[in-house]
Protein backbone atom coordinates (compact mmCIF):
# COMPACT_ATOMS: atom_id res chain seq x y z
CA UNK A 1 0.00 0.00 0.00
CA UNK A 2 1.58 3.31 -1.04
CA UNK A 3 1.64 6.39 1.18
CA UNK A 4 -1.36 8.07 -0.50
CA UNK A 5 -3.57 5.04 -0.25
CA UNK A 6 -2.56 4.51 3.40
CA UNK A 7 -3.40 8.15 4.10
CA UNK A 8 -6.76 7.98 2.31
CA UNK A 9 -7.62 4.77 4.15
CA UNK A 10 -6.75 6.32 7.51
CA UNK A 11 -8.86 9.36 6.69
CA UNK A 12 -11.81 7.21 5.63
CA UNK A 13 -11.56 5.17 8.83
CA UNK A 14 -11.38 8.32 10.96
CA UNK A 15 -14.38 9.86 9.21
CA UNK A 16 -16.26 6.59 9.51
CA UNK A 17 -15.62 6.44 13.23
CA UNK A 18 -16.62 10.06 13.62
CA UNK A 19 -19.90 9.55 11.75
CA UNK A 20 -20.66 6.37 13.70
CA UNK A 21 -20.01 8.15 17.02
CA UNK A 22 -22.14 11.14 16.07
CA UNK A 23 -24.93 8.86 14.97
CA UNK A 24 -24.74 6.87 18.22
CA UNK A 25 -24.88 10.13 20.14
CA UNK A 26 -27.96 11.29 18.24
CA UNK A 27 -29.69 7.99 18.91
CA UNK A 28 -28.74 7.97 22.56
CA UNK A 29 -31.76 8.04 24.80
CA UNK A 30 -32.04 9.97 28.05
CA UNK A 31 -29.39 9.34 30.69
CA UNK A 32 -30.04 6.78 33.46
CA UNK A 33 -30.32 9.55 36.07
CA UNK A 34 -33.07 11.18 34.00
CA UNK A 35 -34.96 7.90 33.66
CA UNK A 36 -34.72 7.34 37.42
CA UNK A 37 -36.02 10.88 38.08
CA UNK A 38 -38.94 10.31 35.74
CA UNK A 39 -39.91 7.02 37.31
CA UNK A 40 -39.65 8.47 40.83
CA UNK A 41 -41.90 11.27 39.61
CA UNK A 42 -44.40 8.89 38.00
CA UNK A 43 -44.79 6.96 41.27
CA UNK A 44 -45.33 10.22 43.16
CA UNK A 45 -48.12 11.16 40.77
CA UNK A 46 -49.63 7.69 41.28
CA UNK A 47 -49.39 8.19 45.07
CA UNK A 48 -51.09 11.59 44.82
CA UNK A 49 -53.97 10.15 42.87
CA UNK A 50 -54.46 6.96 44.88
CA UNK A 51 -54.45 9.18 47.99
CA UNK A 52 -57.19 11.34 46.50
CA UNK A 53 -59.35 8.32 45.74
CA UNK A 54 -58.74 6.95 49.25
CA UNK A 55 -59.87 10.27 50.76
CA UNK A 56 -63.02 10.12 48.63
CA UNK A 57 -64.02 6.55 49.47
CA UNK A 58 -63.35 7.15 53.17
CA UNK A 59 -65.03 10.55 53.32
CA UNK A 60 -67.20 12.69 51.07
CA UNK A 61 -67.38 11.00 47.63
CA UNK A 62 -66.95 13.31 44.65
CA UNK A 63 -67.38 11.32 41.45
CA UNK A 64 -65.73 13.94 39.25
CA UNK A 65 -62.57 14.02 41.36
CA UNK A 66 -62.37 10.22 41.52
CA UNK A 67 -62.74 9.95 37.73
CA UNK A 68 -59.94 12.47 37.19
CA UNK A 69 -57.64 10.68 39.62
CA UNK A 70 -58.45 7.19 38.29
CA UNK A 71 -57.90 8.31 34.69
CA UNK A 72 -54.51 9.75 35.60
CA UNK A 73 -53.53 6.49 37.31
CA UNK A 74 -54.67 4.39 34.34
CA UNK A 75 -52.95 6.60 31.75
CA UNK A 76 -49.67 6.48 33.67
CA UNK A 77 -49.99 2.71 34.15
CA UNK A 78 -50.55 2.35 30.40
CA UNK A 79 -47.82 4.81 29.41
CA UNK A 80 -45.01 2.27 29.36
CA UNK A 81 -43.31 2.72 32.74
CA UNK A 82 -41.15 -0.31 31.91
CA UNK A 83 -39.04 1.86 29.61
CA UNK A 84 -37.98 3.87 32.68
CA UNK A 85 -36.35 0.69 34.03
CA UNK A 86 -33.91 0.44 31.11
CA UNK A 87 -30.56 -1.31 31.55
CA UNK A 88 -28.19 1.05 33.35
CA UNK A 89 -30.83 2.26 35.82
CA UNK A 90 -30.23 -0.49 38.40
CA UNK A 91 -28.42 2.07 40.55
CA UNK A 92 -28.14 5.84 40.43
CA UNK A 93 -29.72 9.06 41.60
CA UNK A 94 -32.78 10.76 40.15
CA UNK A 95 -34.42 13.09 42.68
CA UNK A 96 -32.76 10.76 45.20
CA UNK A 97 -30.92 7.41 45.11
CA UNK A 98 -33.09 4.76 43.53
CA UNK A 99 -34.57 2.23 45.95
CA UNK A 100 -35.06 -0.44 43.30
CA UNK A 101 -33.64 -3.90 44.06
CA UNK A 102 -31.51 -5.50 41.32
CA UNK A 103 -33.91 -8.47 41.24
CA UNK A 104 -36.52 -6.31 39.48
CA UNK A 105 -34.40 -6.39 36.35
CA UNK A 106 -34.10 -10.17 36.22
CA UNK A 107 -37.12 -11.72 37.96
CA UNK A 108 -40.03 -12.31 35.60
CA UNK A 109 -42.39 -11.90 38.56
CA UNK A 110 -41.79 -8.12 38.29
CA UNK A 111 -43.34 -8.05 34.82
CA UNK A 112 -46.26 -10.14 36.01
CA UNK A 113 -46.98 -7.72 38.87
CA UNK A 114 -46.68 -4.78 36.45
CA UNK A 115 -49.27 -6.42 34.19
CA UNK A 116 -51.57 -6.97 37.15
CA UNK A 117 -51.12 -3.32 38.18
CA UNK A 118 -52.19 -2.18 34.70
CA UNK A 119 -55.22 -4.45 34.74
CA UNK A 120 -56.39 -3.21 38.15
CA UNK A 121 -55.74 0.43 37.18
CA UNK A 122 -57.86 0.14 34.05
CA UNK A 123 -60.65 -1.55 36.01
CA UNK A 124 -60.49 1.24 38.61
CA UNK A 125 -60.93 3.86 35.86
CA UNK A 126 -63.90 1.91 34.49
CA UNK A 127 -65.58 1.67 37.90
CA UNK A 128 -64.85 5.32 38.71
CA UNK A 129 -66.58 6.34 35.51
CA UNK A 130 -69.60 4.19 36.47
CA UNK A 131 -69.70 6.10 39.77
CA UNK A 132 -70.13 3.18 42.17
CA UNK A 133 -68.30 4.34 45.30
CA UNK A 134 -68.41 0.95 47.03
CA UNK A 135 -66.98 -0.83 43.98
CA UNK A 136 -64.28 1.84 43.64
CA UNK A 137 -63.29 1.27 47.27
CA UNK A 138 -62.86 -2.48 46.73
CA UNK A 139 -61.01 -1.92 43.47
CA UNK A 140 -58.66 0.63 45.04
CA UNK A 141 -57.70 -2.09 47.53
CA UNK A 142 -56.92 -4.47 44.66
CA UNK A 143 -54.79 -1.85 42.94
CA UNK A 144 -52.89 -1.06 46.13
CA UNK A 145 -52.33 -4.80 46.58
CA UNK A 146 -50.31 -4.82 43.36
CA UNK A 147 -48.31 -1.78 44.54
CA UNK A 148 -47.50 -3.58 47.80
CA UNK A 149 -46.58 -6.82 46.02
CA UNK A 150 -43.95 -4.98 43.98
CA UNK A 151 -42.67 -2.94 46.94
CA UNK A 152 -42.36 -6.07 49.10
CA UNK A 153 -40.19 -7.87 46.58
CA UNK A 154 -38.44 -5.20 44.57
CA UNK A 155 -38.07 -2.02 46.63
CA UNK A 156 -35.40 -1.44 49.24
CA UNK A 157 -36.44 0.19 52.47
CA UNK A 158 -35.95 3.98 52.21
Amino acid sequence: MNKHIRCATALALTLGTLIASTSALAQQGPKPEQLIKWRQSAYQVLAWNTGRIKANVEGQYNKDEVVKAANAIAAIANSGLGSLFAPGTETGKGWKETTVKPELFTDKKAGEIAGQFNKEANELARLASAGDAAAVKVQLGKLQGTCKACHDDFRKKD
Copy 2:
Protein backbone atom coordinates in the same frame (compact mmCIF):
# COMPACT_ATOMS: atom_id res chain seq x y z
CA MET B 1 -72.33 28.74 89.36
CA ASN B 2 -71.64 25.97 91.86
CA LYS B 3 -68.49 23.86 91.79
CA HIS B 4 -70.14 20.89 90.04
CA ILE B 5 -71.57 22.99 87.27
CA ARG B 6 -68.25 24.82 86.79
CA CYS B 7 -66.46 21.49 86.61
CA ALA B 8 -68.96 20.03 84.13
CA THR B 9 -68.72 23.18 82.01
CA ALA B 10 -64.94 23.02 81.97
CA LEU B 11 -65.05 19.34 81.00
CA ALA B 12 -67.54 20.00 78.21
CA LEU B 13 -65.39 22.83 76.87
CA THR B 14 -62.26 20.65 76.99
CA LEU B 15 -64.00 17.77 75.24
CA GLY B 16 -65.41 20.17 72.68
CA THR B 17 -61.97 21.57 71.92
CA LEU B 18 -60.53 18.07 71.72
CA ILE B 19 -63.20 16.90 69.29
CA ALA B 20 -62.82 20.04 67.17
CA SER B 21 -59.03 19.59 67.03
CA THR B 22 -59.29 15.90 66.12
CA SER B 23 -61.82 16.70 63.45
CA ALA B 24 -59.63 19.48 62.02
CA LEU B 25 -56.70 17.04 61.97
CA ALA B 26 -58.73 14.42 60.13
CA GLN B 27 -59.82 16.98 57.55
CA GLN B 28 -56.34 18.41 57.10
CA GLY B 29 -55.10 17.92 53.58
CA PRO B 30 -51.55 17.05 52.60
CA LYS B 31 -48.81 19.43 53.73
CA PRO B 32 -47.57 22.19 51.39
CA GLU B 33 -44.23 20.40 50.92
CA GLN B 34 -46.09 17.29 49.76
CA LEU B 35 -48.20 19.29 47.30
CA ILE B 36 -45.04 20.93 45.92
CA LYS B 37 -43.36 17.53 45.52
CA TRP B 38 -46.40 16.19 43.69
CA ARG B 39 -46.58 19.11 41.30
CA GLN B 40 -42.85 18.95 40.60
CA SER B 41 -43.37 15.25 39.87
CA ALA B 42 -46.36 15.85 37.61
CA TYR B 43 -44.37 18.30 35.47
CA GLN B 44 -41.54 15.78 35.19
CA VAL B 45 -43.96 13.16 33.90
CA LEU B 46 -45.29 15.71 31.42
CA ALA B 47 -41.70 16.45 30.31
CA TRP B 48 -40.98 12.74 29.88
CA ASN B 49 -44.00 12.26 27.67
CA THR B 50 -43.63 15.41 25.57
CA GLY B 51 -40.01 14.37 25.01
CA ARG B 52 -41.15 10.95 23.80
CA ILE B 53 -43.57 12.50 21.32
CA LYS B 54 -40.89 14.94 20.12
CA ALA B 55 -38.51 12.02 19.49
CA ASN B 56 -41.26 10.27 17.50
CA VAL B 57 -42.20 13.22 15.29
CA GLU B 58 -38.54 14.02 14.62
CA GLY B 59 -37.46 10.41 14.04
CA GLN B 60 -39.13 7.04 13.60
CA TYR B 61 -42.86 7.47 14.30
CA ASN B 62 -44.45 4.79 16.47
CA LYS B 63 -48.17 5.45 16.75
CA ASP B 64 -48.63 3.22 19.78
CA GLU B 65 -45.94 5.01 21.78
CA VAL B 66 -47.28 8.44 20.82
CA VAL B 67 -50.81 7.46 21.87
CA LYS B 68 -49.57 6.23 25.26
CA ALA B 69 -47.58 9.41 25.84
CA ALA B 70 -50.35 11.74 24.66
CA ASN B 71 -52.94 9.98 26.82
CA ALA B 72 -50.68 10.34 29.88
CA ILE B 73 -50.25 14.07 29.16
CA ALA B 74 -53.99 14.60 28.71
CA ALA B 75 -54.94 12.63 31.82
CA ILE B 76 -52.47 14.60 33.95
CA ALA B 77 -53.65 17.88 32.41
CA ASN B 78 -57.23 16.91 33.26
CA SER B 79 -56.42 15.59 36.73
CA GLY B 80 -56.78 18.91 38.51
CA LEU B 81 -53.20 20.17 38.85
CA GLY B 82 -54.59 23.44 40.20
CA SER B 83 -55.22 21.75 43.55
CA LEU B 84 -51.44 21.31 43.87
CA PHE B 85 -51.11 25.10 43.91
CA ALA B 86 -53.17 25.47 47.09
CA PRO B 87 -52.64 28.47 49.40
CA GLY B 88 -49.50 27.86 51.44
CA THR B 89 -47.52 26.47 48.53
CA GLU B 90 -46.20 29.82 47.29
CA THR B 91 -42.82 28.93 48.77
CA GLY B 92 -41.35 25.72 50.12
CA LYS B 93 -39.41 22.62 49.21
CA GLY B 94 -40.77 19.50 47.54
CA TRP B 95 -38.04 17.54 45.81
CA LYS B 96 -36.33 20.95 45.64
CA GLU B 97 -37.29 24.57 46.34
CA THR B 98 -40.29 25.56 44.28
CA THR B 99 -39.55 27.84 41.34
CA VAL B 100 -43.08 29.23 41.16
CA LYS B 101 -43.45 33.01 41.15
CA PRO B 102 -45.96 34.51 43.62
CA GLU B 103 -47.83 36.11 40.69
CA LEU B 104 -49.17 32.68 39.67
CA PHE B 105 -51.44 32.71 42.72
CA THR B 106 -52.98 36.10 41.97
CA ASP B 107 -52.83 36.70 38.21
CA LYS B 108 -55.89 35.36 36.40
CA LYS B 109 -53.71 34.89 33.29
CA ALA B 110 -52.29 31.77 34.99
CA GLY B 111 -55.69 30.11 34.98
CA GLU B 112 -56.23 31.09 31.36
CA ILE B 113 -52.93 29.51 30.31
CA ALA B 114 -53.80 26.39 32.33
CA GLY B 115 -57.11 26.13 30.46
CA GLN B 116 -55.30 26.52 27.14
CA PHE B 117 -52.81 23.83 28.16
CA ASN B 118 -55.69 21.40 28.89
CA LYS B 119 -57.35 22.17 25.56
CA GLU B 120 -54.14 21.58 23.58
CA ALA B 121 -53.35 18.41 25.55
CA ASN B 122 -56.76 16.92 24.80
CA GLU B 123 -56.43 17.82 21.12
CA LEU B 124 -52.99 16.19 21.06
CA ALA B 125 -54.46 12.96 22.46
CA ARG B 126 -57.19 13.06 19.82
CA LEU B 127 -54.72 13.55 16.95
CA ALA B 128 -52.36 10.91 18.32
CA SER B 129 -55.19 8.42 18.31
CA ALA B 130 -55.99 9.34 14.69
CA GLY B 131 -52.35 8.56 13.85
CA ASP B 132 -51.52 11.62 11.75
CA ALA B 133 -47.83 12.23 12.49
CA ALA B 134 -47.71 15.64 10.77
CA ALA B 135 -50.74 16.90 12.70
CA VAL B 136 -49.28 15.55 15.94
CA LYS B 137 -46.07 17.47 15.29
CA VAL B 138 -47.93 20.77 14.80
CA GLN B 139 -50.11 20.11 17.85
CA LEU B 140 -47.10 19.28 20.04
CA GLY B 141 -45.76 22.73 19.15
CA LYS B 142 -49.04 24.30 20.27
CA LEU B 143 -48.96 22.40 23.55
CA GLN B 144 -45.36 23.39 24.21
CA GLY B 145 -46.32 26.98 23.48
CA THR B 146 -48.66 26.90 26.48
CA CYS B 147 -45.88 25.39 28.65
CA LYS B 148 -43.53 28.21 27.61
CA ALA B 149 -46.18 30.89 28.18
CA CYS B 150 -46.56 29.79 31.80
CA HIS B 151 -42.81 29.36 32.36
CA ASP B 152 -42.09 32.82 30.93
CA ASP B 153 -44.49 34.56 33.30
CA PHE B 154 -44.74 32.36 36.36
CA ARG B 155 -41.56 30.32 36.80
CA LYS B 156 -38.33 31.62 38.32
CA LYS B 157 -35.10 30.66 36.62
CA ASP B 158 -33.68 27.49 38.22
